[in-house]
């Protein structure tokens, strides 16, 4: 009915944005895989394919002034946060136009202006940074949250325990976003945790914690909004167990011997992108031409980013030792 018109319109628009963002991450990483095989990108490359709903749903719920800490599997978070695709790709090419001037690579994307605190290649290493950022917000009277993304494997690290306890004890404004993709490299959840219900484990620290379907971007977004409301409100930290799955190997080095193909196929049925497309189609929010338009836009953006990365200058070798210490002005 016409009454629903405006409401439907906003919903349609919003869902189209979510779809566009998930597709953007997907297409970007598919290209990264190609570029890795073509030796344009080197080092470790950890793809997020299959997990896009988590970054798009959760990062989207953050405000521009709120900080974000991630892991080595952070392309999705960086793009969702608005770090330009061009500077992300240039970084993987090792160019000085990269978001870390070529010094970080895929695992160390940074963007201070967008409060994107990176890219951390030590499992669990980002958690203390996140609670410290939260502490700084609290001590300076900013009513805002810091989001910390990490995998379920990190939950076994001592640092996880120390940070959960400290965040809860001091009621720090931090959203712990645990991306439970069921594997830590080749180690399945049940082989690394005595307690596989991670939300339950988190709640034992006395903070609100619940599991979320990480393959459903709208569910993730709703959960993130709910959790962030608590956090911003001085309710202390919250923990979301985002249940997801990586469709590809752990890294480009991983022969993926530890899980059977059937399991992977089983999960692909829940592809977050297909899921949203299906839903939008039923809602009449998406036509083939809409989809084509999105894809066209994305391939143009990707092409431009590649061109820019290819053309990007290398950091001069004389600058090798810059940024070991701050430059005194």
């Amino acid at each position: 009915m016409t009454a629903d018109g405006p409401a439907n319109e906003t919903r349609a628009k919003h869902h189209r944005e979510l779809l566009q963002q998930m597709l953007r991450i997907r297409r970007f990483e598919e290209k990264c895989a190609e570029l890795y095989s073509a030796a344009k990108i080197r080092g470790f490359l950890h793809l997020y394919v299959g997990e896009e709903a988590v970054a798009v749903g959760a990062v989207g719920a953050l405000r521009p002034e709120e900080a974000l800490v991630s892991t080595y599997r952070e392309h999705g978070h960086a793009l969702a946060r608005g770090v330009p695709m061009e500077s992300v790709l240039a970084e993987m090419y090792g160019r000085s136009t990269g978001c870390s001037r070529g010094r970080g690579g895929s695992m160390h994307l940074f963007d201070a202006a967008r409060r994107f605190y990176g890219g951390n290649a030590i499992v669990g290493g980002g958690l203390p940074l996140a609670i410290g950022l939260g502490l700084a917000d609290r001590m300076q009277g900013r009513r805002q949250a810091t989001a910390c993304f990490f995998g379920e494997g990190a939950v076994a690290e001592g640092e996880f325990h120390e940070c959960m306890n400290l965040a809860s004890l001091w009621r720090l404004p931090v959203l712990f976003a645990c991306e439970n993709n069921r594997y830590a490299m080749g180690t399945a959840l049940a082989r690394s945790h005595a307690q596989t219900d991670l939300a339950l484990r988190a709640s034992s620290y006395g903070m609100p914690a619940w599991p979320v379907d990480g393959m459903d971007v709208i569910a993730v977004e709703e959960a993130a909004h709910r959790a962030l409301a608590v956090v911003r409100d001085g309710g202390g930290p919250c923990f979301l167990e985002l249940r997801t799955y990586r469709f590809r190997a752990h890294s480009m080095y991983d022969p993926d011997r530890y899980r059977d193909k059937a399991e992977v196929e089983q999960w692909k049925v829940h592809d977050p992108i297909d899921g949203l497309i299906g839903r939008m189609r039923t809602d009449g929010d998406l036509t083939d031409s809409d989809l084509e338009a999105i894809e066209r836009e994305l391939s143009d953006e990707l092409a431009a980013a590649m061109e820019a990365a290819e053309a990007g200058p290398l950091e001069p070798v004389e600058d090798l030792t810059r940024f070991v210490y701050s430059e005194r002005s």
């Binding site: 996140a130 940024f323 210490y325």
Partner: protein
């Protein structure tokens, strides 16, 4: 100039108090810094003066609270993080080495980490193997960190503020045997520079290079040698990273003989780096090989006579200088 008889411990407290007063971004965080009054009574009374937000007792979670200090620095604060002793800093080493020291570089210059980490170091109190480490040399190996070691009451009071003004992480080592050291302190509070080594006693016959806890015995040895007509120049490094080569070389090229005194275990201690640097830069000015007086390579034993035998003693320094100056002056 009016002076007040002050202990090293009190000088540190004065420094922390004035920093807290001058800059409200500064806060002190660590185990038992508040209600207990500080393990070595350095922060005694500060909780009552500045309250629990700025004098923060932490749980036994070294990695989390040191990392939280890094995050808080990223968030605009100026944390002073106290690790009770260097022995426990091993539990926070990942945060220090992989985050504090690398973020600026990995981010291509975007993220500096303005924080000061204070810790007690050294042996000499019969605390045995797990509580007597001298790992200054380890920390001095890490690019991105600045390492200082106040050996005098003036430096105990003056170095902190300079360190807090530094845009990058500074680690301050306080030797456990110095806290009770007392002497007159100029009442006019002034910051001291943390870049330069200083000559604590001038001399022409040999250069004695040391820092922190071993300055006292080095001066004692110099005194004794003066009685024999051997004039030793005693240099206090003050900054362990970067090392002030200029001051060392200026002295060695005059004395042609050098002895390094370092409480660390001989092999791979800071003394090795100093010896190598002097030889590299003043080889043809040396009349004798650079001597080293270090700790025996044994976990520090509890029994007094064994601990003394394990640590550098004035007589060891005297002997080393005699060896270095044996073939006439």
């Amino acid at each position: 100039m009016t002076t007040t008889e002050t202990t090293y411990r009190e000088a540190l407290r004065v420094a922390i108090r004035s920093a807290l007063t001058r800059d409200d971004r500064v806060f002190l965080m660590g185990e038992d810094v508040g209600r207990y009054g500080g393990c070595f009574a350095v922060s005694l009374g500060l909780l009552e003066e500045f309250g629990p937000e700025r004098i923060r007792d932490t749980p036994l979670s070294e990695s989390a609270f040191v990392g939280a200090g890094i995050g808080a620095a990223l968030g605009g604060m100026r944390p002073i993080v106290e690790i009770m002793t260097v022995n426990f800093s091993l539990l926070a080493l990942d945060q220090i080495v992989n985050n504090a020291a690398t973020l600026l570089h990995m981010s291509g210059g975007q993220l500096n980490v303005p924080m000061v980490i204070r810790m007690t170091t050294g042996a000499g109190r019969q605390l045995a193997a797990q509580h007597s480490h001298s790992l200054e040399g380890w920390y001095a190996h890490i690019p991105g960190l600045r390492i200082v070691a106040p050996a005098t009451i003036e430096d105990a009071r003056g170095m902190l503020w300079t360190a807090l003004c530094d845009p990058d992480p500074v680690i301050m080592f306080e030797h456990g045997t110095l806290y009770a050291m007392s002497g007159p302190l100029d009442d006019a509070v002034q910051a001291v520079d943390i870049d330069k080594a200083v000559v604590r006693r001038p001399g022409r016959d040999a250069t004695l290079i040391t820092y922190g806890g071993t300055l006292r015995i080095s001066l004692l040895a110099a005194e004794e040698l003066a009685g024999e007509g051997v004039e030793v120049e005693v240099i206090d490094l003050r900054s362990l990273r970067p090392l002030d080569d200029a001051t060392l070389l200026d002295s060695v090229t005059r004395t042609h003989r050098a002895v390094v005194v370092d409480e660390g275990w001989r092999s791979g201690s800071l003394s090795a780096e100093i010896s190598a640097r002097i030889t590299e830069q003043a080889f043809f000015d040396l009349d004798a090989p650079v001597e080293r007086v270090c700790s025996e390579e044994v976990p520090t034993p509890y029994a007094k006579h064994l601990e003394e035998a394990a640590l550098p003693q004035p007589s060891d320094i005297v002997d080393a200088v005699r060896r270095a100056t044996r073939d006439g002056r």
